[in-house]
């Protein structure tokens, strides 16, 4: 019995730092922040509770509302853009292509780069005075316009373009791995039936890749909620509020404007957003694993 207890002690000790991180850092700081969101804290934490006043203020802030709208537009286009382009690239690479591994490296390398680098490169390419716009105009097309980063109606799409460039390779890799796992018999059967190749990809392969693509989409969607670096690097929220995002709103209010109560209210909404986004997905997985157990 003595040695058993000693052994258990080792395990407990080994996991102690992680327990500490999970309970104190993750849960502790989260509740601290949530509590702050119900106070009138500005530069320093205060314990003067004001109920939901900060949340009311938050949802009367034009900047916050613009942030929400922007992140929604960016998120939908970025995730679906990455999924569609990634799937198409994977399907093309799955067709016995020459130089397949070279193509794959080219499509994936942006994923190894940071959002800051991504944002800066595209900011430069889309620079209206010296970038692509100027180049095309000097070729003779004088009215060509590509001013997305300085145009408040288009700036959010510049972020989408840069984001898809960076993230589509991830989806391609995951989709390609899934395609390589599909059984050869299915292909033979479908070909004998005379089904065209593109239909095989859409009607037979796409449904089978569903879970893997959903996981990839989930991963990208989590990234969307945290979107910060790419905006800071590429547009810094402008022009106007046209590329402000919630994570940046929170950072500005935490460290720039010393508005702790409002910032933590925003952060709490962000956490709530994650819970709302993840819960249905997790619930579906839970149902499916239960069903699988029941069937077995």
């Amino acid at each position: 019995m003595h040695t058993k207890r000693k052994r258990n002690l080792s395990v407990t000790l080994a996991l102690l730092p992680t327990w500490f991180a999970a309970v104190v850092v993750y849960i502790g700081t989260m509740f601290w922040s949530i509590r702050m969101s119900f106070t009138d804290s500005t530069l320093f934490p205060s314990s003067n509770y004001v109920g939901f006043a900060q949340y009311v203020k938050l949802f009367h802030s034009a900047k916050w509302l613009a942030s929400l709208q922007n992140v929604l537009i960016f998120g939908v286009l970025y995730v679906s853009g990455c999924l569609v382009l990634g799937f198409l690239l994977a399907a093309a690479l799955d067709r016995k292509i020459r130089f397949e591994s070279a193509f794959r490296s080219i499509f994936l390398y942006p994923y190894a780069m940071s959002f800051v680098v991504t944002g800066l490169v595209w900011q430069w390419m889309l620079n209206p005075t010296l970038g692509i716009q100027a180049s095309v105009r000097s070729l003779g097309w004088e009215t060509f316009v590509l001013d997305w980063v300085v145009n408040r109606n288009m700036a959010i799409y510049a972020l989408v373009l840069a984001g898809v460039w960076q993230g589509a390779g991830l989806v391609m890799v995951i989709a390609l791995a899934g395609m390589r796992g599909i059984e050869a018999e299915q292909w033979k059967a479908a070909r004998i039936d005379g089904i065209p190749v593109w239909r095989i990809y859409v009607s037979i392969i796409l449904p089978q890749l569903g879970p893997a693509l959903a996981a990839a989409g989930m991963l990208l969607a989590m990234g969307v909620i945290k979107t910060y670096d790419i905006v800071v690097a590429m547009t810094n929220g402008g022009p106007g509020n046209s590329t402000e995002v919630p994570a940046k709103f929170i950072m500005d209010n935490l460290f720039g404007r010393q508005n702790l109560g409002l910032a933590t209210a925003g952060a709490t909404m962000l956490v709530l957003g994650v819970v709302l986004a993840v819960a249905p997905f997790r619930y579906a997985m839970y149902l499916r694993s239960n069903r699988a157990k029941g069937a077995a």
Partner: protein, 294 residues
């Protein structure tokens, strides 16, 4: 049988479809390569040449002075010391953070999957939930806590923060790895009298080398590419390369030196790119493992 090779019949001859397929791939490759090409050619031009507005033109004569300036003379506000400070800061932050978080992740994965102590699933669940939560909710109280223990704005502080926020991913990957290890192996060693740490160091760690490589690479690129945590926790003297790069490019006074900016951008990207190109399939394994199992 699943095969590690392309599907479908072997194409007999060149058809319109095949041409379309290659056309699509080449256009896509062009789209993906264009920013890299632009970065490189811009960094090799003089500002006079850049002002002509031919962003895709090759430099008349490659000029490396922008690289020298980017490395050792580019300005952040009024301080002109180049991005090399940030480079060494990033090295000093990334290397210990990766080593520590991989070690702790391996211990966690091993303990959680092969010893299953009480509360193992609770701890794992907490970590996974924590991995999904946006950092913004942790930041301010973390800053105060770090200040209380005198680690705010210090190298040790930013390393600790990276280790803590890396826990969910590294634990997940190592747990999934050790779950597939036969339990009998661990039991047999226990019968022979080996303890928790001996089994870990002598049996499990050597066995997990492939996973260690994958996780290290994933953590390395992740931490090197981090911007937010470095900005908040590292302090002025330890700012990582990404933060200094952004300062160089976006806070300049006067005319922007695009050639220097692009040289600095390449220098910042080059380390994770080297990891990516040198490691090949390992990197792919890492991101797919992290994505699909997450």
């Amino acid at each position: 049988m699943a095969r590690p090779h392309p599907n479908g019949p072997k194409p007999a001859q060149i058809t319109a479809g095949r041409i379309g397929l290659y056309a699509f791939l080449f256009v896509a490759a062009l789209f993906f390569l264009l920013p890299l090409y632009t970065m490189i050619v811009t960094s090799l031009k003089t500002m006079d040449e850049i002002r002509l507005g031919h962003i895709f033109a090759l430099p008349e004569a490659p000029d490396f002075s922008a690289w020298v300036t980017a490395w050792s003379g580019a300005c952040m506000g009024t301080v002109c010391v180049g991005i090399r400070i940030g480079f060494w800061n990033s090295v000093a932050i990334t290397v210990p953070s990766v080593a520590l978080s991989v070690f702790i992740g391996a211990v966690n994965g091993y303990a959680l999957s092969l010893w299953r102590p009480r509360g193992a699933s609770v701890l794992f669940g907490l970590l996974m939930a924590g991995g999904l939560i946006p950092y913004q909710i942790f930041l301010y109280p973390m800053v105060r806590a770090m200040a209380n223990i005198s680690l705010y704005n210090s190298l040790a502080g930013i390393i600790l923060v990276h280790v803590i926020f890396g826990l969910p991913l590294v634990t997940l990957l190592f747990r999934n790895y050790f779950v597939s290890v036969p339990e009998e192996l661990c039991k047999a060693a226990r019968v022979d009298g080996a303890g928790f740490w001996r089994i870990f160091f002598e049996i499990m760690l050597p066995m997990a080398v492939p996973m260690i490589v994958v996780v290290s690479m994933l953590q390395f690129t992740g931490i090197w590419n981090d911007f937010l945590l470095g900005l908040v926790f590292a302090g002025r003297d330890n700012l990582p390369m990404t933060v200094q790069l952004n300062n160089i490019v976006n806070t300049t006074m006067g005319e922007r030196t695009y050639n220097v900016n692009m040289a600095a951008t390449i220098l910042t990207a080059i380390v994770p790119l080297a990891v990516y190109f040198l490691s090949g399939r390992w990197f792919v394994r890492g991101i797919t493992a992290g994505a699909v199992k997450g």
